[in-house]
Point group: C2
């Protein structure tokens, strides 16, 4: 049997290696249009600063090693120009020479291609690059060796932020430009704002809500009319499935052009399979077909399609999507659905925010950890989670990703028996705590109000009590329209609180205000807790805080 694989990075190479482990006899041919296979595409930004010091570290395995160890026939710089599924044949071009190769099974793992923003002048500018592969990074490194000083990055997603961090570390002046109103569209805006803040703290000039009208002779004209100089421009506005070849072969595609596969990774054509960034997968929480262009699913899919072809019982269970990015000292991560995705899917949800420390407060070195959980209001079924902080963001999100993918509810989270010693966590871990907070909401012990609902509620007559201490208000600022009654004095001031109005309580992180909410509710008031309290509100609306 001959299996031909188009694309030799994550999905394709995982498939090839697993196929060999399952069978010594199968002929395995991997074709890749680039000069390298099995390279570390997620590592490319870190090579720009020298954090990954050696270029060879980016290349995980060479064709020679793959031949020796796995008996895989890897052909680089080989572009497949046609798939003829009727004849089980492909046409491949290497250095101008065209050749047909027959296959018994064909696996497509062509990955994704960089979206190109449609900016007049961009096509002809020889200082604009994407960062998708080793040749890209070589070109950028060549430019960097000419000592540029000003870099503009278009697109404030994960790649744009990673590139910004690494170029700042190289000592460059960096402007990060995005047409949207926030960085990191996989996060909700108030969580992403923590990353915007971190970027600004580290001298990245962030231009949100900004489009580029024109690129001309190292000058970018922005839609506010201003002009900026850039020695180098990196375009990182996103990717889409690389499926022109599949479409030309009549293989069915869906949204964004992604290849449609069944749960055994079979495309609409017999004996043709597809994995990785190029395919659509079932979003487990919405049931919709979506693109999740990430390295981890691609690797898993590659291994699974090998199993399927070799007759092992394996199927694609679908995905929820988990992403993380580092911005200087802080990490931001999300799993499952965010608010924008929930709204798009028409799903009713409730949110809860917590801010605590990554480990026990009495042990030194703890760092603030901001978390958000999204769930079904009636049942507590988990939809999504987000976290931002200096430490243990990956841990919290990974734990929650398991809970979400396996269909758990907020009531399961307090049950998790997570490792605790003072250097590592808390006796009540942040995951347990956000589970308690959400359980209180589902069980009706607490009601909350989101940061973006506060202004409207106050207009509608609500009475806002801030239960922080006067010292905290002085230090951090005051919420507009709030009355200050410190928590420990609250029971002595019940008579001053209007009985006939909705009371909204806030503190710093939401924990003391929850206690205030309970005290007031148990005394017959109608109360809502400002979710995430001062910390979330002041992150979302720093300009509204009164100093």
């Amino acid at each position: 049997m001959r299996i031909v694989i188009i694309g030799g990075v994550a999905g394709g190479m995982s498939a090839a290696a697993r196929l060999r482990r399952l069978s010594e006899e199968t002929e395995i041919i991997v074709l890749d249009k680039g000069p390298y296979v099995s390279f570390a595409n997620c590592g490319l930004p870190y090579y720009l600063s020298g954090e990954i010091a050696n270029r060879e570290d980016l290349i995980v395995q060479s064709p020679r090693q793959l031949k020796k160890r796995f008996k895989i026939d890897v052909r680089t710089e080989t572009t497949v120009t046609e798939i003829n599924s009727d004849n089980h044949q492909i046409t491949a071009v290497h250095h101008g020479l065209s050749k047909t190769i027959t296959y018994d099974k064909l696996i497509l793992s062509p990955g994704s291609v960089a979206d190109k923003p449609n900016i007049p002048g961009m096509g002809s500018a020889d200082y604009v690059y994407a960062l998708r592969n080793i040749p890209d990074v070589d070109k950028i490194m060549a430019q960097l060796s000419q000592a540029p000083t000003r870099v503009a990055i278009i697109g404030a997603g994960s790649i744009g932020i990673e590139v910004a961090e690494n170029l700042i570390k190289r000592g460059l002046s960096v402007m990060l430009i995005d047409a949207g109103s926030q960085v990191l569209p996989f996060m909700d805006p108030e969580m992403a704002a923590l990353i915007s803040h971190e970027l600004s703290e580290h001298s990245v000039t962030l231009k949100l809500n900004t489009q580029i009208d024109k690129i001309d002779r190292h000058q970018l004209t922005l839609n506010d009319g201003s002009q900026i100089k850039a020695d180098l421009v990196i375009s990182a506005v996103g990717v889409r499935p690389n499926t022109a070849l599949a479409q030309a072969a009549g293989i069915k595609t869906g949204e964004l052009g992604g290849i449609i596969v069944d749960k055994h990774y079979q495309t609409s054509q017999p004996d043709i399979y597809a994995v990785g960034d190029a395919i659509l997968v079932k979003q487990l929480l919405t049931g919709q077909l979506v693109s999740i262009p990430l390295a981890s699913p691609a690797n898993r899919q590659g291994r699974e399609v090998a199993d399927v072809i070799m007759g092992l019982p394996r199927e694609n269970r679908g995905g929820i999507g988990t992403a993380i990015v580092r911005a200087f000292d802080v990490a931001a991560a999300a799993t499952g659905l965010n608010v924008a995705q929930l709204k798009r899917a028409g799903i009713n949800y409730q949110a809860v925010h917590t801010t605590g420390q990554n480990h026990a407060a009495f042990y030194p070195g703890g760092k603030p950890l901001s978390m958000k959980l999204l769930f079904e209001p009636q049942t507590g079924k988990l939809f999504g989670a987000q976290a931002v902080g200096e430490k243990s963001v990956d841990k919290q999100i990974d734990i929650l990703s398991v809970a979400i993918k396996s269909g758990m509810t907020v009531f399961d989270l307090p049950e998790f028996e997570l490792s605790y010693a003072p250097p590592f966590g808390s006796a009540k871990d942040p995951v347990n705590m956000i589970g308690y907070a959400a359980s209180n909401l589902v069980e009706g012990l607490s009601d909350n109000l989101q940061f973006d609902q506060l202004e409207g509620a106050i207009k509608d007559g609500a009475y806002l009590i801030d239960v922080r201490t006067p010292g905290e208000l002085k230090r951090d600022g005051k919420l507009p329209g709030s009355t200050n009654i410190p928590l420990d004095d609250l029971r002595d001031h019940l008579a001053e609180i209007p009985k006939d109005r909705l009371i909204i309580v806030s503190c710093r992180s939401g924990q003391r205000s929850y206690l205030a909410e309970r005290i007031l509710k148990n005394n017959g008031f109608k109360v809502k807790n400002l979710d995430g309290a001062f910390l979330v509100y002041s992150t979302a609306y720093p300009e509204r805080i009164e100093h």
Copy 2:
């Protein structure tokens, strides 16, 4: 309603605070025999070195704060001497004055007491201490201020190791003595050996298999006849449920004297509940009643018993147990059952070891991560997991604890969508990888042999092939009785390998030998992979390695 709580640390104080949040009217009285409630007992070892610098950081909340904020009546230095359940009364003694207090509901949260080793002379030595509470730590700190130089610690469990680390950091000479054959009985021996190694690397003198026959005038006589001097002795041989009071009141107890409660934390006496270290809980994997004396479950139970008393739907689902300890630069953690527990429960299991890095190898700063997974051989149902390493041990074990507690199998682990960017993890996360390794075993693609079975197998005629490179053998040493055929040459040497004998393959970590196993199996050989390969074997039997 008056609720009386005996014991004001983790379980008792969590119950008290939750009760107040649920009800303003309930009278809540907390009695504690010690001078402090709500203190950070897990933080005590770190105060010895000054890593936790201020004594007041160990005291989370004072009775005054608890009164002000929670309207809780906290009475310290108050020892309950009798429970009279017929009359709903207890007798409490404070500074010699005895008093009866009636209750509507009584919650017992008396915690555990330190086991005392039965060593002649120990009782009369005034330089022997346990480390269980603030008065203990005060006494030890007073001794330390007199500039001792030699400390003996009895018991190489978590507390003993934490104390050893902190006293070494203080510049003392530390001997750690244990009667057992390994440190950290919650880990399997070959995993615990990694911690023994770390302790030795940091100048802790470790004496395993060692009993103390006598303590006399700062001299410890060991069972090998040798004598050692100690200015100070810390006893940390373990704890048992503190249940003398409950037993005297006729409350039913079980193994180790632990209080037996139903799933609503009710004891055998009406209106008396119990939580925390003092109770037995259902081990979810064996169904047996066990003692899990840890802070996290105690806190959860305290909150849950408050819910139960206030009529909320809550029950104790049982536990699996998760523990972590830091020893200098390395952490060791375990969740679920270990081999000793599985054997005791008569459960058939299979083990798999992996050693990788905590994040992508191409990104700098990765640290070795040793993991072990225990599962049901036929179904892959997860039983337990252990990890040792410098980084992300807590993360891996927390993820696996969720999987184990929710009844998952090894086939679920590869499905986990864990956060990946090069600084945080790998596209194939260590949890995914150990899931793949275990799945291969359950599906019969791989067979393994444990480190402690190798010698016997070779005696029975097995042929051991080490597929590392000659350079690695020279650097790290040779497995006794092994033939070296580097993996990449294996296919060229098939003719030299005996067809009629069991072939055992090994490499450094087990990954290359798995590939060798597949090559050989696909060529008709009968093969087993030495699980964990050279790394696990040489950790378990360093003396057997040939240099």
